[in-house]
């Protein structure tokens, strides 16, 4: 009997164990006077790493919608933003602009999940009957409408400046900047693992089989007596609520939010990560997102030695990102680790 045999058999159980370990470790670093020191060069690893685990929650939710149920949500960022803005408006103190009510942060987190879920229910109820590409356009337009509202309703959303003074509980207890980064990465990573565990449990169950059946052939699924609209709706709302949760913790890490954090770019990054890794496979979508975020990390290092300005470099990076999206769809439509038969793609 090796060590391997004593590990949990299911991905979901492994993730649950990992989640508890990471959160406990992270909280331990935050609450004890253990000081972590990060060498200056490695800061960027932690910053990108934290963004990776936050986006990880987004991609797991999106994969529940697209990879499993076949719903083409191209406005995923709006649910992320809804969570972050709800968190900010409820719990921020002394913001320069916008609503800042100063309630305790746990209330903000719960409200963020609820508001994002409700928004998901609203968008879902109105557009889930649309054909795939029109659903994509409707969700994308919804995200753009909200982006415009965030920018223009300064009294409510803080306009282009955004909302400041959001509580950063982990940062407050950890004290130093280095300890905060380590603790945040561990705790957020644990939350992503927890999300993985929940989503994997859901899709390993017969419930997940119904979702995949809808993706494969909705008519047949309806013919065997499943209320496909209800399943689609649930899948959409779960994904939206997860994105809202990601938005809430992102706001609590950053301490401030602005419309810049919630542009189309976020949706594109998440989508590329999912497609690159292989939709409908939880580990694969995280792997794909890791590759895209790794590119971001690598490019930050490369920028120093590149003979171009920062603006030009940003353009080049986005060109590469766009090309990756195009090439993946053309040459590996099921993604790097995806199952072509599962996705029924024609490559």
């Amino acid at each position: 009997m090796s060590v391997r045999d004593s590990l949990p058999a299911h991905d979901s159980d492994t993730a649950l164990v990992l989640s508890v370990v990471a959160v406990v470790l992270g909280l331990a670093i935050a609450f004890t006077p253990v000081t972590a020191t990060i060498p200056g060069d490695l800061y960027v690893f932690f910053e990108v790493g934290i963004l990776f685990v936050v986006y990880g929650i987004l991609v797991l939710g999106l994969d529940l919608q697209y990879g499993h149920t076949g719903l083409v949500n191209f406005g995923h960022v709006v649910f992320f933003a809804a969570g972050a803005y709800t968190m900010a408006m409820l719990s921020a103190v002394d913001s320069f602009e916008g609503i800042a009510l100063g309630y305790p942060w746990p209330l903000g987190v719960v409200a963020a999940v609820l508001v994002a879920g409700l928004l998901g229910a609203f968008v879902g109820a109105t557009s889930l009957r649309l054909r795939g590409d029109f659903l994509a356009i409707a969700t994308l337009a919804t995200a753009e409408i909200f982006h415009t509202l965030f920018i223009n309703f300064t009294d409510v959303f803080g306009g282009t400046t955004g909302i400041f003074g959001i509580p950063t509980p982990l940062g407050d207890v950890a004290g130093t900047r280095d300890a905060t980064l380590v603790a945040t990465l561990l705790v957020f990573g644990g939350l992503t693992a927890l999300t993985f565990a929940i989503v994997a449990r859901l899709t390993e169950a017969p419930y997940g089989r119904v979702l995949r059946a809808i993706r494969a052939d909705e008519l047949v699924t309806r013919a065997v007596g499943k209320s496909t609209f209800r399943y689609k709706m649930e899948s959409f709302v779960y994904g939206a609520a997860l994105a809202g949760f990601a938005g809430a913790i992102f706001a609590m890490y950053n301490g401030a939010i602005s419309p810049d954090f919630f542009e189309l770019q976020v949706t594109v990054t998440i989508w590329i990560g999912m497609l690159l890794g292989g939709a409908s496979n939880h580990r694969a979508v995280l792997g794909g997102l890791g590759i895209i975020m790794g590119l971001r990390l690598f490019s930050r290092f490369a920028q120093g030695s590149a003979p171009v300005t920062a603006g030009e470099f940003a353009s080049i990076r986005l060109i590469v990102v766009g090309l990756i999206l195009i090439l993946v769809i053309r040459y590996r439509p099921a993604g790097i680790w995806g199952d072509e038969r599962e996705l029924e793609v024609d490559s």
Binding site: I137, I272, R330
Partner: protein, 304 residues
């Protein structure tokens, strides 16, 4: 400013949206894809026109033609490189590819042209038409109530010209009739001996030319920058879907509805809220998708 003045703005906005929306909706109808990169085709056209009118410099009417030809060539090349190879994979991969292509084009243009806005020098590119009163002197006082600039007249005039030519092409020429046949039922069209690939290519060229024209007109009205076309894509999309995706005549109607709605929204919204007028087009889009997803005159877009 009176209501009439706003209606003029609406007609002008509707005109360049309509030209682009026709191209967009033809691609949808024939190639069966939502081309999200289409806004970038407008930007390409606007820059080609600007280079031609500013750097060479050719007279503006000639530059318009240059931009249309450039837009057509760019469109067919991009289609051959990116879209034709994955034609068989269905609408979602095509849509995602177009989003990737839009990202690539937008940033490539930014890399070459920079961020700053450029202007068509309407002084030096005075309209060279003979026998036409010089309209470039400034606003023309019409009926004593509102003003129309020469640029606005040109935009609306070009749009009317496009509609006339389009109608003739679609009803009188073999290619146009084949396009309509393919839009209705591609399999049937192929059985009847229509060279579907040839028609697809013609649509790409035609849509690129319309994008080029729309881009230049938009550039003359406002300015030319890397986001010129991208800022229009959701309005073009809204117009095409409002009119019923795939229907050119619907797209024209949709474009003017969107244009007038945008202009009226700026009239009725308080000045601090004018920024949200761009959200109005998207709101119309969402409402149309919900209430009547097939649009004014289009195909079914619901699955069930």
């Amino acid at each position: 400013m009176g209501l009439a003045q706003n209606l003029i703005f609406g007609l002008v906005t509707g005109s360049y949206i309509a030209i682009a929306a026709i191209g967009f909706t033809l691609i949808y109808g024939i190639v069966n894809m939502i081309n999200f990169a289409y806004g970038e085709y407008l930007t390409i056209g606007a820059f080609i026109g600007l280079l031609s009118a500013g750097a060479l410099p050719l007279p503006l009417p000639v530059s318009v033609v240059v931009a249309m030809v450039g837009g057509g060539i760019a469109s067919i090349l991009l289609a051959k490189l990116f879209f034709t190879p994955i034609n068989h994979t269905g609408p979602i991969p095509m849509l995602l590819t177009s989003i990737g292509l839009g990202l690539v084009l937008r940033n490539a243009i930014r890399l070459v042209a920079g961020r700053s806005a450029r202007y068509y020098d309407t002084e030096t590119t005075t309209w060279q038409f003979r026998n036409v009163p010089d309209l470039s002197v400034g606003p023309v006082d019409l009926l004593g109530g509102f003003f129309v600039t020469s640029q606005q007249l040109i935009v609306v005039g070009c749009a009317l010209g496009v509609f006339l030519v389009l109608h003739t092409v679609l009803t009188r020429t073999d290619v146009g009739i084949a396009m309509r046949a393919m839009s209705d039922d591609e399999a049937l069209a192929r059985v009847r001996g229509i060279d579907t690939q040839l028609i697809r290519n013609s649509v790409w060229v035609l849509a690129g030319m319309l994008a080029g024209l729309s881009g230049v007109l938009l550039g003359i009205q406002t300015n030319v920058s890397v986001t010129t076309g991208f800022s229009q894509i959701l309005q073009i999309l809204s117009a095409a879907i409002l009119g019923g995706a795939g229907s050119p005549y619907g797209a024209i109607a949709g474009a003017y509805i969107i244009g007038v709605a945008l202009a009226l929204s700026t009239a009725f919204l308080p000045s601090s809220m004018t920024g949200i007028s761009s959200a109005i087009a998207f709101a119309i889009l969402v409402v149309v998708l919900l209430v009547k997803p097939s649009g004014i005159a289009g195909a079914e877009v619901r699955e069930a």
